[in-house]
């Protein structure tokens, strides 16, 4: 699938943003995070900023953004619609949560947990936009939603660590949450890769053309001699060696580096702010690589009509 920059930024940024909201909403009320306004203010602003930036960029790949509002209408059947609705609804508890924290300084209360819950649902529905597409085997996979969720949480946690480092010192629990998040994100992603790499193709040129019963089917001539939109959008594919490189980048920058750095912080053997920022940068680049690959590696069954022997 063609990796559109706007969509990659959207899923990674909003993922991290919602991840932060989840952690803030779930942990702050029970005092497991710094409760001071500085931390809360910066963290919430950053979280909502990332979310909002992501959502806005997701409209860039629409040909008619002026009609984007229509996309809220089909929550009954369409995951994109659900994602849109949930994303917007989430602002409500999030704002109330922020108000109660920053204005009333009454952290305890329902808004934190509700925000966290809504954020989780939003990430989940984002992931389901892709996971629900049967036409793209590498997306239509049980591990896609968990990976989206855990990567959102992990990257969100790393951001929070940075914020904490910025306004004071980093609470140990947060570090362990982040480390745990990164570790399980890595585990899930590796599991996902192994499973999709091993997956047996469901469709073939034979089933696509229904000619398989005669013999092996191979495209001799395409319907057009210049790639059309379908091919540009869904025929995208990258060379094995690039895949390997990008997977390494994902593992190293997305998981390994942040893990080691945060580990160092936990051991108190590193300067807090610089290390935390390094972790943020590293995890962001790594997750963008992961998301780019998520698209680039995905093959659409329509390619079977255009000469691909398997997807």
């Amino acid at each position: 699938m063609h990796p559109a920059a706007s969509v990659i930024f959207f899923t990674t940024a909003s993922g991290a943003g919602y991840g932060m909201l989840v952690l803030l909403g779930a942990l702050a009320p029970s005092g497991l995070l710094p409760t001071d306004r500085w931390f809360g203010g910066v963290a919430l602003a950053l979280a909502l900023g990332l979310v909002t930036a992501g959502l806005l960029s997701s409209t860039f790949h629409l040909h008619h953004p002026e009609r984007a509002w229509r996309a809220f209408s089909q929550w009954r059947s369409a995951w994109l619609s659900r994602e849109g609705v949930l994303a917007c609804l989430t602002y409500a508890p999030a704002v109330l949560f922020a108000a109660s924290w920053l204005y009333f300084e009454a952290l305890s209360g329902v808004w934190g947990p509700i925000t966290a819950g809504m954020a989780i649902l939003t990430i989940y529905s984002t992931s389901m936009i892709y996971a629900s597409l049967k036409t793209i085997p590498r997306w239509h996979h049980g591990l896609v939603p968990p990976v989206y969720l855990i990567i959102g949480l992990a990257s969100g946690a790393v951001w929070l660590v940075a914020v904490a480092a910025g306004v004071g010192e980093i609470p140990g629990l947060l570090l362990y949450v982040a480390l745990a998040g990164i570790a399980s994100a890595a585990a899930l992603k590796l599991l996902y890769w192994r499973s999709v790499d091993a997956a047996a193709p469901s469709s073939s040129p034979g089933t696509a053309t229904a000619l398989g019963h005669i013999g092996t089917v191979r495209q001799l001539e395409a319907p057009h001699t210049v790639d059309n939109w379908v091919m540009r959008e869904m025929g995208f594919s990258i060379a094995r060696k690039h895949i390997r490189k990008l997977r390494r980048i994902t593992v190293v920058l997305g998981f390994a580096v942040p893990f080691v750095v945060l580990g160092g912080l936990a051991a108190g053997s590193l300067p807090e702010l610089p290390a935390a920022l390094l972790a943020v940068v590293s995890v962001s680049v790594g997750v963008v690589a992961e998301r780019w690959l998520f698209f680039a590696e995905a093959r659409h069954v329509v390619a079977l009509y255009y000469g691909r022997v398997s997807v």
């Binding site: 629409l62 089909q74 049967k134 036409t135 696509a208 053309t209 229904a210 013999g215 495209q219 009509y305």
Partner: protein, 251 residues
């Protein structure tokens, strides 16, 4: 709502006979020609006279080489357009309600005034039947020529899809696949109509008729009448010893 109708009164669709399709692209171009000034936005072409000429089409024809294990490779020409699936993922996936399936005849359409051009429906279609028009920024797809098949401004006989009307080999048939008595249903029955990618669970309405087995019956003169005249092979009996007998029988 882009939820699918519980069922549709009719299932209008195409039955395409791969046994006679010669890959001439007549259906492709007549489709473009009718529809570019028909339903919805024009089917635009980018760089039409340039380096990468490409545009929106609702019907495309591939050529496949099919190689049986025990016979020489053969060629099958293969038209591809929207199959108007009963279980159309392109409809349920659409966030705006622009994509819908008509309850009266099962035709899957895009309401272009609502379409935001997100492309998700095309992602969800296994058959590459949807193309985003690069000028109008809306999704285009086969309309089953809905502006022909019911069009009172056209003579009765012309109320059929443009591609069906144009096809010089009559490889394309249009009708109601819900009605077991319809000509298309009977074709599907007798010729063993096939679904494309059934494993995708889309339940296509359009069906494809398989190429007939290539016939090479064993045949020899020995098995034929008039064999009595067959030249023994030896010229000794005269150049053509069957000739006189044969002429005698002429009288």
């Amino acid at each position: 709502m882009t939820s699918l109708p519980k069922g549709t009164a009719r299932k209008l669709g195409l039955v395409i006979d791969l046994d006679i399709c010669v890959g001439c692209h007549a259906c492709v171009v007549s489709c473009k020609e009718w529809n570019t000034s028909g339903y919805g936005a024009a089917l635009s072409d980018q760089e039409p006279y340039g380096d990468e000429p490409t545009g929106s089409w609702l019907n495309r024809v591939h050529t496949y080489e099919v190689t049986p294990s025990d016979a020489p490779a053969q060629i099958v020409h293969f038209p591809r357009s929207c199959l108007h699936c009963e279980n159309a993922p392109c409809v349920t996936v659409c966030p705006t309600g622009a994509s819908y399936k008509r309850v009266e005849d099962g035709i899957v359409l895009v309401n272009e005034d609502w379409c935001i051009g997100c492309g998700l429906c095309a992602w969800s279609c296994p058959y590459g039947a949807r193309e985003m028009d690069q000028r109008a920024g809306v999704m285009k797809k086969c309309t089953l020529c809905i502006d022909r098949i019911y069009n009172e401004n056209l003579p009765e006989i012309d109320r059929e899809p443009a591609c069906v009307r144009a096809c010089p080999t009559r490889a394309r048939h249009f009708g109601d696949l819900n009605d077991p008595e319809s000509s298309v249903s009977r074709l599907v029955q007798t010729r063993g109509g096939m679904d494309l990618m059934p494993e995708q669970g889309t339940k296509p309405v359009n069906k494809y008729l398989p190429p007939r087995a290539k016939r090479e019956p064993l045949e020899s003169f020995a098995s034929q009448r008039g064999d009595s005249d067959r030249n023994a092979g030896s010229r000794s009996a005269g150049l053509l010893d069957w000739l006189d007998k044969a002429l005698e029988r002429l009288g």
